[in-house]
C-alpha cells in the first residue's frame, strides 16, 4: 500500500527501460518500493533496469516484453503485470513513447501511423485495461508521462507533440472519471530532457536530465497535484507560450 507520503510498495512501469522510467524506479526503490514490474520492448535493457531496481532496494523484480506498435499487446501486458505483482498495485507509470524523425515521418503514412499508435493509441488502450482493475482495488495511482510539447504543438515535432497532446487531454478527462474511486491519475509534463531519446537534438531552454524529472515526479506523488511539471518553471513558461501570437510562436521555433 502507498504510505502517507505517496510512496508506493508495488510498482508497474509500462515503458520501463526509458531513461526517465529508470530514474524514477531507482528513486521509488530507495523509498518503499519492493515489488517492481518493468514492461517494455527491449528485454536486455529491461533486465538492466531490473538490476538497477534490485540494487536500489527492490526485493522482487519482473520483466515483461511487449511491442507498443501493436495495440493488442496492451491488455496482455497489463494483465501480466498485475498478475506478476499478485497484490494491490500501488503505482502504474506509463512511460511509453517514440520521438520519431519528423521530417521523414511526416510524408510516410506508415510512420505517421506508428507515431500515433506508440504515443497515443497504445497508452490509451493500456489505460482502458488498467482502469477497471485499479477501481476494483479501491486504491492506487497512475502516472502518465506526457510532455510540455503537447501544450502547444510545433511544426518541427507535430507527430510526436500532437499525439502527446491527445494523450494529455484525454488523461485530464480520465482523471476526472476516477474521482471518488480511490484511484488518482497524475500527468507529468517534462520540458526538454536529456535522454537517449533526445540525443543529438538541440536542447530547448531550461533543459533538464532524467534524474531531475524523477525527483520532481517523486515530489509530485506526495501531493494532490493533477499535473506535475519538470522543471516547475515550465508551468509558467508554457502558460505564456501557449498564448503567444502564432507568427511569434513560429519565429522562436524556426530553427527547431
Amino acid at each position: 500500500m502507498e504510505n502517507a507520503f505517496g510512496q508506493p510498495q508495488t510498482v508497474v512501469v509500462l515503458g520501463g527501460s526509458s531513461d526517465i522510467a529508470r530514474e524514477v524506479t531507482k528513486k521509488l526503490c530507495g523509498a518503499r518500493a519492493r515489488t517492481v514490474v518493468l514492461a517494455g520492448r527491449n528485454e536486455s535493457l529491461l533486465s538492466e533496469a531490473a538490476k538497477e531496481a534490485s540494487n536500489a532496494g527492490a526485493t522482487a523484480t519482473h520483466t515483461i516484453t511487449f511491442d507498443a506498435q501493436d495495440v493488442t499487446s496492451a491488455e496482455t501486458a497489463v494483465a501480466q503485470s498485475f498478475a506478476a505483482v499478485g497484490a494491490p498495485v500501488d503505482l502504474v507509470i506509463i512511460a511509453v513513447g517514440l520521438l520519431g524523425e519528423q521530417m521523414l515521418d511526416e510524408n510516410d503514412p506508415a510512420a505517421a501511423a506508428r507515431m500515433s499508435i506508440v504515443n497515443y493509441a497504445w497508452p490509451v488502450t493500456a489505460l482502458a485495461a488498467l482502469r477497471q482493475r485499479m477501481i476494483a482495488q479501491g486504491s492506487g495511482r497512475i502516472v502518465v508521462i506526457s510532455s510540455v510539447a503537447g501544450i502547444r504543438v510545433r511544426r518541427g515535432s507535430y507527430l510526436y507533440s500532437g499525439a502527446k497532446a491527445g494523450l494529455d487531454r484525454l488523461c485530464e478527462g480520465l482523471a476526472d472519471s476516477l474521482i471518488g474511486t480511490g484511484v488518482t491519475l497524475q500527468i507529468v509534463r517534462p520540458g526538454f530532457v536529456h535522454t537517449k531519446m533526445t540525443a543529438g537534438l538541440k536542447p530547448a531552454p531550461f533543459s533538464v536530465d532524467a534524474e531531475r524529472v524523477a525527483k520532481d515526479i517523486l515530489r509530485g506523488l506526495g501531493t494532490p497535484a493533477r499535473i506535475i511539471y519538470s522543471p516547475s518553471i515550465m508551468k509558467w513558461l508554457f502558460a505564456l507560450l501557449r498564448h503567444l501570437p502564432a507568427p511569434l510562436w513560429r519565429k522562436i521555433n524556426e530553427d527547431r
Binding site: 500500500m1 505517496g6 474511486t181
Partner: protein, 440 residues
C-alpha cells in the same frame, strides 16, 4: 451497500471500500460474504488501520446497546458505544471510563483493537486491562473470551488492530469517582531534562500525568515543556455533569500551508507564554482536562488537503536519551511539529502486538509537506528500534514492513492465533497489507 472513500484522522492515504453498518446479529453472515472484511469505529486512528481498499468495511455505528451499570462498576456494551456515551451515561451515576484517549470520539471496538492508553497508563495500564470479557465474531464463529477463558485470543484481540475478528460486545470495569472535576497541578519547565527528571521521580503521586513539549526550539530551551498532573476531585455530594458538545467547527479544509513552520512556532510560543510557571490545585472539568481538542470539531482539516501524520513511539526507561535525541533530531531538521506529548508508560499487556512498555512515550503531530519529513521519520525509526522501542500502530501511516517486524517481533504469534479463527485470512486491512503482516 455503498462504496465510500475512507480516511484516517490524518487524512493522508484514503482508499475506497464497500461500507455497511450492520447490527451485531448481521456481522457473522457478512464475514462469509466477501473475500476481505474489516471493522471500523469512528475513524480516529490516524493512518490506514481502519481502511480496506476494495474490500468490505463494517462500521460499528449500529451496535450501540449499553446495558445498565452493575453496582460493582462492570457494564456490558456494544462495540459501537463510544467513550463519549460511556462518560455521559456513567458520570452522573459516579462511574468514569477506566482509560480515555485524548478524544472522547472513540468507539469501544476501536479502543480495544488499538488497546488505547490515557494519561493514567503509568498507574492503570491500557484499556485492555479493564476489559473483563469480550464477544468476538470470527469467520469460524462467534467466540466469548476473557483473560481466563481463551486468554490467547483475548490478548491477541486487545491491541490486535481488528485483525482477529469483529468485537461485538465487551464487558468493561469502570472507575468509581465522586465528582466530574479533576484537581490539576501545572508546572512549566525550561528544558527537557528537568521535566523528564520530575516525571520520573514524581509521576507516581498522580493518577494522571502528561507533558507538552516544544520540539521547535533548539539550544538551552530545547524541549521546554508544560507538565500537567492531576487526580479526580473527591467530593461525594457534587452534582455531576457530562462534558459539552463541540462548540466551534472547521467545516472545510484549510489551504495547505496554513499550519506551516511559522504559525506552528507562533502557536507553541503562545502556549508557553500562557502557561503558569507553577499552579497547584486548579479545578478543571473532565472535558478540559482529558479532551481539550474535542472543543474544535474536525480540527484535523486545519492541516489542509495533504493532511498530517502523528509519530508516536515508546522506548524503555533505560532509553531516556532516545527521547532527547528524537526531539533534537526534529528540532535540527526543522520539520515543523506541534507541541509533542510526552508521557510515562507502565507495563504493556500479554498481547503479541501490545504497544506500551515501562518507560517513555512521545507523540508528535507533523504536517505532510516538508521534503525532508519522510527521511527524518525513517531516522527516528532507527533511533527507536535501536533503543528497543516501537511505533504505535493506531497512529502509523508510514512504517515499513522490515522495521515493523523488528519492532514487533511477536507478530508471528498474532498470525498463529489468527489462523485458528480466520484460516482463510478474510480479515485484513490497508495497515496489515502495508506492513506485510498479511499479504492479502
Amino acid at each position: 451497500m455503498s462504496r465510500e472513500k475512507l480516511y484516517g484522522w490524518g487524512r493522508t492515504s484514503p482508499s475506497v471500500a464497500e461500507v455497511l453498518e450492520p447490527t451485531a446479529e448481521e456481522v457473522s453472515s457478512l464475514l462469509g460474504s466477501s473475500t476481505h472484511v474489516l471493522s471500523r469505529g469512528l475513524g480516529r486512528s490516524y493512518g490506514d488501520a481502519a481502511q480496506l481498499a476494495g474490500g468490505l468495511v463494517l462500521r460499528n455505528s449500529a451496535m450501540t446497546v449499553m446495558d445498565t451499570i452493575d453496582s460493582d462498576g462492570t457494564v456490558w456494551v456494544d462495540a459501537g458505544v463510544t467513550i463519549d456515551d460511556l462518560i455521559r451515561v456513567g458520570l452522573p451515576q459516579g462511574w468514569f471510563v477506566p482509560v480515555t484517549p485524548g478524544t472522547r470520539q472513540v468507539s469501544v471496538g476501536g479502543a480495544i483493537a488499538a488497546d488505547v492508553h490515557g494519561k493514567n497508563h503509568h498507574v492503570d495500564g491500557s484499556f485492555g486491562h479493564h476489559v473483563r470479557s469480550l464477544v468476538l465474531a470470527t469467520p469460524s464463529g462467534t467466540i466469548t473470551c476473557s483473560p481466563t477463558d481463551r486468554a490467547e485470543l483475548f490478548w491477541a484481540t486487545i491491541g490486535g488492530m481488528g485483525l482477529t475478528g469483529v468485537v461485538l460486545r465487551a464487558q468493561l470495569q469502570l472507575l468509581a469517582v465522586t465528582s466530574d472535576k479533576v484537581i490539576v497541578d501545572t508546572t512549566r519547565f525550561t528544558n527537557l531534562e528537568s521535566v523528564m527528571h520530575e516525571m520520573q521521580s514524581g509521576d507516581h503521586r498522580y493518577r494522571y500525568s502528561v507533558a507538552w513539549v516544544d520540539c521547535m526550539t533548539t539550544g538551552a530551551t530545547m524541549g521546554r515543556a508544560i507538565l500537567t498532573r492531576g487526580d479526580h476531585a473527591d467530593r461525594s455530594n457534587d452534582e455531576r455533569q457530562s462534558p459539552r458538545e463541540a462548540k466551534i467547527g472547521v467545516p472545510f479544509s484549510a489551504p495547505s500551508g496554513l499550519l506551516n513552520g511559522l504559525s506552528i512556532r507562533a502557536f507553541n510560543e503562545l502556549w508557553f507564554r500562557m502557561a503558569p510557571k507553577q499552579r497547584r490545585g486548579e479545578e478543571q472539568s473532565i472535558g478540559a482536562f482529558f479532551h481539550p481538542l474535542d472543543g474544535v470539531r474536525d480540527w484535523n482539516r486545519l492541516y489542509g488537503r495533504r493532511g498530517f501524520v502523528q509519530y508516536q513511539f515508546a522506548v524503555p526507561d533505560t532509553a531516556s536519551e532516545t527521547v532527547v535525541d528524537a526531539i533534537k533530531l526534529l528540532a535540527e531538521s526543522r520539520v515543523p511539529s506541534f507541541l509533542a506529548v510526552l508521557k510515562r508508560f507502565g507495563a504493556g499487556t500479554p498481547g503479541p502486538l501490545s504497544f506500551p512498555m515501562p518507560g517513555w512515550t512521545l507523540a508528535l503531530d507533523l504536517p505532510v509537506g516538508p521534503a525532508a519529513l519522510p527521511r527524518v521519520l525513517d531516522q527516528l525509526d532507527s533511533l527507536v528500534l535501536e533503543a528497543g522501542g516501537r511505533v504505535y500502530l493506531a497512529k502509523d501511516a508510514r512504517l515499513d514492513p522490515a522495521t515493523f517486524r523488528a519492532m514487533y517481533p511477536r507478530f508471528e504469534e498474532l498470525l498463529q492465533i489468527k489462523r485458528t479463527v480466520d484460516p482463510d485470512t478474510v480479515i485484513t486491512s490497508d495497515l496489515a497489507r502495508r506492513l506485510e503482516l498479511i499479504r492479502k
